[in-house]
């Protein structure tokens, strides 16, 4: 591992390189490298502007507002927050998951599959395929979806349409593209009409075919240079996520399972309402983002990865046939109990796209999604925990309310926080193995971004300002003087500002 690169000795005498902000990552990320006079990396850190203010934003509001309100926390994964909050407030009205009406449960799952499908499709086709198809150090003008659309038009169009299809599933189930009120405390506020169901069925076979094609594509890309793909940014870690009671892959509801780097079970079938007994968060002075860890292993050994790689590694099987066949192939390629390749996040992401497409078809053919028994009500409680497998990993929402139904306490652990230590480790691995001792160039620094992007971190603020996300590289000498500055635009334009 590369923990020795978290904090360097003699920091004041080192050159500082800042990659700020990291592009094709939602929100604002920054990489700082401290180099000695021989350009050897002595310290590497990924700093992230955390989801600050979430809890304050939620506290003081009546609980029934939460499924709509929390969508505004993040413009990238609003449905994930919507469903995690809904699961938590189910408990506030006395409804445990087993007692949610069957139709409501299936509609929520359909909504979630649509969300995961569109999120993964966006990440692979739009944000990562340029690197994977053209190379990490390729000409910068090629590293965009437009270049993919030009040179691989079929793949580019499939990405756009897969994304669109997932959005349409969301729109049909929740009534709107955004701000929908699909899930409410104890159930759902609408079911699908036959016309809506038939509309979604029209294209689902095409989506499954394209999803299969995307799995074949990533397998080909990954295996075309196996030693490199299996090594780049790769770290050995623990993995955490939800699984079904029989160990199958689960995205909406299940027990917590954690395995170590050898595939040995650390814990299994844990009731997520008791997450506080198993997971703690550590604070470090140099970043706003916390570092979660498994209490049983401690801060040093207990960090873990979440997301598609963790889920596919952790599960015993996938309950849709095409995705299961893809999982078996994926696991076989490494020859180990767990696949640790960070770039394998892409492969597993596309296996999940296929699983989602297959699962959507199953649900669309299930008459329960057009059912009328949609809401259950029980006895009021004062605390609720909702956990789902969001596209980027396990997402925790935890609320307490008072006698007036006002939220008095909120705690969120988002997927990107869980991957914080892992992303830092991957950055250090790349810095140590690929950058150290070489002259720093833009393509080399893109390697750092590739490592981070594999995790699909969401640092969303959902606020945008046109043109606010260039990539800036600054080289600062030991006296703190700016000696070189590189601004990269995604259209290939590079501006150099020699101070």
């Amino acid at each position: 591992m590369y923990e020795h690169l978290e904090t360097a000795e003699n920091r004041d005498s080192l050159k500082r390189v800042v990659v700020d902000p990291v592009s094709r990552v939602e929100g604002h990320g920054k990489v700082t490298l401290l180099l000695d006079e021989n350009n050897k990396v002595q310290q590497a850190r990924l700093h992230i502007v955390e989801f600050r203010g979430f809890e304050r934003f939620i506290q003081g509001r009546p609980y029934w507002e939460l499924p709509v309100l929390v969508q505004r926390l993040c413009g990238i994964c609003p449905v994930s927050h919507h469903l995690a909050a809904a699961k938590a407030i189910d408990q506030l009205v006395g409804i445990d998951p087993a007692y949610l009406p069957v139709s409501a449960d299936k509609l929520r799952r359909l909504l979630h599959f649509g969300q995961v499908l569109q999120s993964h499709a966006l990440h692979f086709f739009h944000l990562s395929s340029p690197d994977l198809l053209f190379g990490f150090e390729s000409d910068i003008s090629k590293r965009s979806i437009v270049a993919v659309l030009s040179e691989y038009p079929e793949i580019g169009v499939q990405g756009v349409k897969l994304r669109k299809y997932g959005q349409e599933v969301i729109r049909m189930v929740s009534g709107k593209r955004i701000h929908g009120t699909g899930a409410i405390a104890g159930g759902m506020n609408k079911s699908l009409t036959k016309a809506e169901r038939d509309y979604l069925l029209e294209d689902i076979d095409q989506m499954i075919t394209w999803a299969e094609g995307s799995v074949a594509l990533i397998k080909k890309v990954h295996c075309s240079n196996l030693p490199y793909y299996d090594d780049f940014a790769t770290i050995r870690s623990n993995y955490l996520g939800l699984t079904k009671p029989d160990g199958a892959l689960e995205l909406y509801h299940g027990g917590i399972r954690a395995k170590n780097e050898h595939g040995e079970t650390i814990m299994d079938h844990i009731d997520y309402c008791k997450y506080n007994d198993y997971i703690h968060e550590e604070v470090r002075s140099w970043t706003y983002m916390k570092f979660p860890y498994l209490l049983s292993l401690g801060q040093e050994q207990g960090w873990y990865r979440v997301g598609p790689l963790a889920r596919v590694n952790n599960c015993d099987y996938i309950d849709t046939p095409l995705a299961e066949a893809a999982r078996v192939e994926f696991k076989a390629h490494s020859g180990e109990a767990m696949v640790h390749s960070t770039l394998a996040f892409h492969w597993t992401r596309l296996i999940e796209v296929l699983h989602c497409a297959e699962s959507i078809k199953v649900l669309l053919n299930d008459p329960d999604i057009m059912g009328s028994d949609l809401v259950a009500q029980g006895e009021k409680r004062y605390e609720g925990v909702g956990v789902i497998e969001a596209p980027r990993g396990t997402l925790f929402h935890h609320y307490q309310v008072d006698e007036n139904d006002i939220v008095t306490k909120a705690n969120l652990i988002v997927s990107t926080t869980s991957n914080n230590m892992a992303m830092n480790e991957s950055v250090r691995q790349v810095a140590a193995e690929y950058l150290s001792g070489r002259e720093l160039t833009e393509p080399l620094l893109n390697n750092l971004e590739v490592a981070i992007r594999a995790y699909d971190p969401c640092l969303s603020c959902a606020t945008h300002a046109v043109g606010k996300m260039p990539l800036q590289l600054e080289l600062i000498d030991a006296e703190g003087k700016l000696i070189d500055k590189l601004v990269k635009h995604s259209d290939g334009q590079i501006e150099r500002d020699n101070a």
């Binding site: 304050r56 739009h126 979806i145 300002a465 046109v466 043109g467 635009h489 995604s490």
Partner: protein
């Protein structure tokens, strides 16, 4: 068939002045005749929004902008590969470029109404200045929507 005019406001209602785009849509829905106009909103623009441009005669994007000099700005959009390709939030010009790449044809006439914004903190309401700017922009948008004609809109570009 989709309606011939698309009014697409984007932003986050809970992020201070970022709400300007969606709020202008609320104004249009309550004050303007929308027989020919489809109203769409999202948090931010993405690749799939290129497909929303299909079969339109006119498209009006509405967004908050810190770059505006006056209360609002009204410009013609052209397809462009700009910096926003590398983020989850694309610019309207980049969306037009994706449309061109997918459809192999020029996108419909598209315009951007930018409303001057100042603050974007989670949980904030509109700033005082943004409230004033929104009123002016709504009045302007109302004139556009009651005259959904390319020639008229182009004249307004020059007038602002």
């Amino acid at each position: 068939m989709p309606k011939p005019v698309l009014l697409f406001g984007y932003g986050n209602l809970s992020r201070g002045d970022d709400a300007l785009g969606p709020l202008l849509l609320e104004y249009a829905e309550s004050h303007c005749g929308l027989d020919e106009v489809e109203v769409l909103t999202d948090f931010q623009l993405q690749i799939e929004h290129a497909l929303d441009l299909e079969s339109r005669r006119l498209v009006l994007f509405v967004d908050a902008s810190v770059a505006c000099v006056d209360a609002f700005d009204f410009t013609v959009l052209e397809p462009a590969r700009d910096k926003s390709y590398t983020t989850h939030a694309m610019s309207p010009a980049a969306v037009l470029d994706v449309y061109q790449s997918i459809k192999k044809q020029t996108p419909p006439p598209c315009f951007l109404l930018s409303i001057k914004a100042e603050q974007f903190e989670l949980g904030d309401g509109l700033s005082v200045n943004a409230e004033t700017n929104l009123v002016e922009a709504c009045s302007f948008a109302g004139r556009l929507l009651s005259n959904p004609d390319l020639g008229f809109w182009l004249k307004q570009v020059n007038a602002v």
